[in-house]
C-alpha cells in the first residue's frame, strides 16, 4: 500500500475575494493544511502564482471551482445523503440555495449578497427599515447604511469589530428573509410532496441547514467564537423564519465547495465533522400565543441521570448546552394551538432524535411569523442571550 501523500490546491474566486485551500490526503484521511484569502483586486494570475510558490510540492493537483453551487450540491449529497438538506451560500454579489432530498435536488441563485448584492435591499426604504430592525444594537442608522453601502465601492471587507459583525449579520438576515420569501418551499421541513399526500408516511421531520459563503466567514481554524455562531443561528431563525426542527451547520471557512470538488475527484467522503461546525439543533414552535403563555413541555433524554423537563413559555428563546457528537431524544407535550412543523398532531409527539453542537439545543418559542415584531432593547438582549451572546460592545 502506497504511503505517498497527495496534495490538492483548491481555488475559488468571487467578485470580492480569491481563496485557496491546501489539502493533504493520506490513505482515506483528508487534512486541511492551510488556507489563503486575498481581496479580488489582486490579479487572479498573480494570486495563483504566489500560492504555487508558497505551497510548491511536486505532484500538486490544482483544482479550480468555477461554480460554487454545483460543488455545494456535491458536498451535501455526500455528507447528508439520507436527509432533507438545505445549503445556503451567501456571497458578496450572489447567493445560492441548494436543496437535496432522496436523490432529487434543486439549485437556485439570486443577485443578493453582502457587497454589490446588497444594492436591491439598500435601495428599498422598507427593506432598509427591516434590515435596521435586525441590527440588535443601538447604532445610528445613517452610520449603518453608509457602512453597508460602502461595500458596493470596496467589496472585499473583513469586519474588524463586533459592532460591524452585528451590522453584517443584520444584512445577512435581510438577505435570508428575501431568499425565504422567493423560495419558501425549500425552507420548510415538510416537503411539497408530503404536504400534498397527507396519508403518506412522514420521513424524518428534522431538516438540515448548512450556512456558508462570505456572510458566515470566521476565517479561523479554531472555530470557538460562540457569539458569532449565535449571530449566525439567529440570522437563520429570524431571516428564514423557519419552523420545525433543524440541525444547523456552519461553514466558517468557505470549505464546502472545496470539499465537494474533492469528492468529485473521487478522493474521500466530505469531512463534515472535521471542518464544518455543527451548531446544534433548533426546535421552533409555531404558535400565535401572547408572550408569557404556557406552550407545553419538552422532555429531553440527553443521556444524563434522568430526563430533563422544560416548560416552554411563549416569547422565549433559550439554549440548552449539549455538546457536539452527543445525541439524545426529545418528547413534546404541546398545548392547543401550538405545533411543530413537520410533526403530526399537536398534543403528543413521538420521540425525536436530536444532536448537540457548539450551541447545543436552541428552543425558539417566539412564535411565527416573526417579522411583524420589532423587539425592544430588553427583548433584543434576551434573544441574544438565548443564542449564547452575553456581552456586546
Amino acid at each position: 500500500m502506497s504511503l505517498t501523500a497527495q496534495t490538492y490546491i483548491v481555488s475559488q474566486f468571487s467578485e470580492a475575494f480569491h481563496t485557496s485551500h491546501l489539502f493533504v490526503r493520506l490513505h482515506d484521511e483528508l487534512e486541511l493544511v492551510d488556507s489563503i484569502t486575498v481581496p479580488a483586486f489582486v490579479d487572479r494570475d498573480v494570486f495563483l502564482e504566489s500560492i504555487r510558490k508558497k505551497w510548491y510540492k511536486s505532484g500538486n493537483v490544482e483544482l479550480t471551482i468555477t461554480n460554487r453551487k454545483i460543488f455545494n450540491l456535491e458536498f451535501i449529497r455526500d455528507a447528508f445523503s439520507h436527509h432533507k438538506t438545505l445549503m445556503i451560500d451567501i456571497g458578496t454579489d450572489v447567493s445560492s440555495l441548494v436543496y437535496y432530498r432522496d436523490g432529487s435536488f434543486a439549485i437556485k441563485e439570486e443577485k443578493l449578497g453582502l457587497a454589490e448584492g446588497l444594492a436591491p435591499l439598500l435601495h428599498s426604504a422598507s427593506e432598509r427599515e427591516r434590515m435596521y430592525s435586525y441590527v440588535h444594537l443601538d447604532l445610528d442608522r445613517r452610520d449603518v447604511f453608509d457602512f453597508l453601502a460602502d461595500r458596493q465601492l470596496n467589496p472585499a471587507r473583513v469586519a474588524g469589530s463586533l459592532n460591524e459583525r452585528f451590522v453584517e449579520f443584520a444584512a445577512t438576515t435581510a438577505i435570508l428573509t428575501r431568499l425565504a420569501q422567493e423560495h419558501e418551499r425549500y425552507f420548510t421541513v415538510t416537503s411539497h410532496e408530503e404536504k400534498k399526500g397527507s396519508r403518506m408516511a412522514q420521513s424524518s421531520p428534522v431538516g438540515i441547514a448548512v450556512l456558508g459563503g462570505e456572510a458566515f466567514w470566521f476565517q479561523t481554524k479554531e472555530i470557538n467564537v460562540s457569539h458569532l455562531e449565535g449571530l449566525a443561528l439567529l440570522s437563520f431563525l429570524d431571516g428564514a423564519n423557519i419552523e420545525g426542527i433543524w440541525r444547523i451547520y456552519l461553514d466558517g471557512n468557505s470549505l464546502t465547495p472545496a470539499l465537494g470538488r474533492l469528492k468529485k475527484e473521487g478522493v474521500v467522503s466530505a469531512a463534515v465533522s472535521r471542518y464544518i461546525q455543527q451548531l446544534g439543533t433548533a426546535i421552533v414552535l409555531s404558535h400565535a400565543q401572547a408572550e408569557g403563555t404556557q406552550l407545553g413541555t419538552l422532555r429531553f433524554d440527553l443521556g444524563f441521570h434522568s430526563p430533563q423537563e422544560l416548560h416552554v413559555v411563549a416569547g422565549q428563546l433559550i439554549r440548552l448546552p449539549f455538546e457536539r457528537g452527543q445525541t439524545g431524544k426529545v418528547e413534546m407535550q404541546l398545548h392547543e394551538g401550538v405545533r411543530i412543523a413537520g410533526l403530526d398532531g399537536s398534543l403528543a409527539t413521538p420521540n425525536i432524535e436530536i444532536e448537540g453542537g457548539s450551541l447545543g439545543i436552541v428552543i425558539d418559542a417566539r412564535g411565527r411569523p416573526l417579522h411583524s415584531r420589532v423587539p425592544n432593547k430588553e427583548t433584543r438582549k434576551r434573544w441574544l442571550e438565548g443564542v449564547g451572546i452575553k456581552q456586546v460592545e
Partner: protein, 365 residues
Amino acid sequence: MFLGYARYPFSRYTTHHVTRSLTGNAQVLVKVGEEVRPEKIVGIGKKSAGFRTLDAAAVLKVPPQDVKKYLTKMTGSYINKGEVIAQRSSVLGLGKKQIKSPVDGVLQQINEQTGVLTLEYRPEELRVVSGVKGVVSNIDPHKNELTISANVIEVHGALGIGQRREGSIHIVGQPDLPLSEKQIDPTWENKIVVGGSLLTKQVLYHCVALKVQGIVVGGIHWEDFSTLIGSRGRFEDIGISVVVTEGFGNLPIPPKLFESLQAYEGKFSFIWGGTARLLIPQQETEGVKPQEHVHAQARYARLAEGMRVRLLTLNRRGEFGTIRQLVEDTYLGSGIVAPAAHIELYNGETVLVPVTEIEVIPDAI
C-alpha cells in the same frame, strides 16, 4: 506583503474630448485641426423664440384661398415689427385693409385652407465658446456638434449623480465641515461649487433652485443618495451634477486635493456626476504640459508603515491616520483572523483595523 484599497482622486493631464453643441440652423466658425482658445466663439446657434399666428382671411375679409394674392412679403422673408405684410384695397380704391407684422421675425408660412399666417419670432442667437484650449478634432453637421480635444485634469470621485454640466469653479466653506444652507448665496448661481465634507438633500435642493450647475463634496449619506437615483440610475438628471469625492458618510475632502482645487477658483470646468468626474481644462498660465498617460485606476496599493490612510470602519469612518505597524493573521474583535494594521489617528489614539478597512490616500499632484 500587505495590500489595501487605494483610490486615486485625480489624474494628471489627460486628453479629453469636449463636445460643444449648437442649436437650430447653426453656423460653425472653426474647422477641423484648428487650435482654439477658451474664449474663442466656435459657432453661432439659433434658438427659436416661438411662433405667432394671424387670421389673414378674417382681417382682409377674403376667402382663405385668396389670401396669397394680397401678401406683400414672400414666405421665408424677414419682417420687422410694424411692416405691412398683406394689403387689400377696396373696389373704388377709397380704402384699404392692411395687416402689419406684430413682431420682428420671419413669415414662416400661409395656410391656404384656413387663410392663417404663421410668423416665427426672430430666433435668438446663441454664441458658443470653446471653453477650453485645444484642437478641433471633429465637426458633425447632422448633430450640430463639434469636438475639441483638450488637455484637462480629471478629478475622479468615488461616486456621483447627474448629467454633463459646466460652469466656473467656486470654492466654498471648508473641506472638513458639512455644507450648510446658511452658506448658500446668489454668487453660487451657474457655478460648480467645491467644498464640504457632507451634502444633504436640503442643501442640494436649495442649490437646484439657485441654478447651481454642480457640487463637488466629500461625502453624502447613503439614504439621501438612494432617494436621488431614479430609473436612469446615476445618470438621472436631477437638475444639478454631483461628484462625491470620498464616499458614503460625513467624509472630508483630503486636504491636498482641496488645496489643489483652490488654485482653480473661477476657472471654467466641466462636471459629469454620472461618471463622478470633474474636468478642469489646462490653463494658459500652466504652459505646455507633457502628455501623461492616465493612471490605470489601480484599486489597491502595497501598504507600508508611515503611509497615510483613511478608515472605512463603522465608527471612526472617514478619520485619517498613519500606519504604524502591519501584522499578519491577527485575531480581531469581530472574531475573525486577518491581516491588520495599527493606525495612529490624528488625536494620538491607536486602533487595530483589518487592512481591508483602510483606504490609502495618495498625495495631490
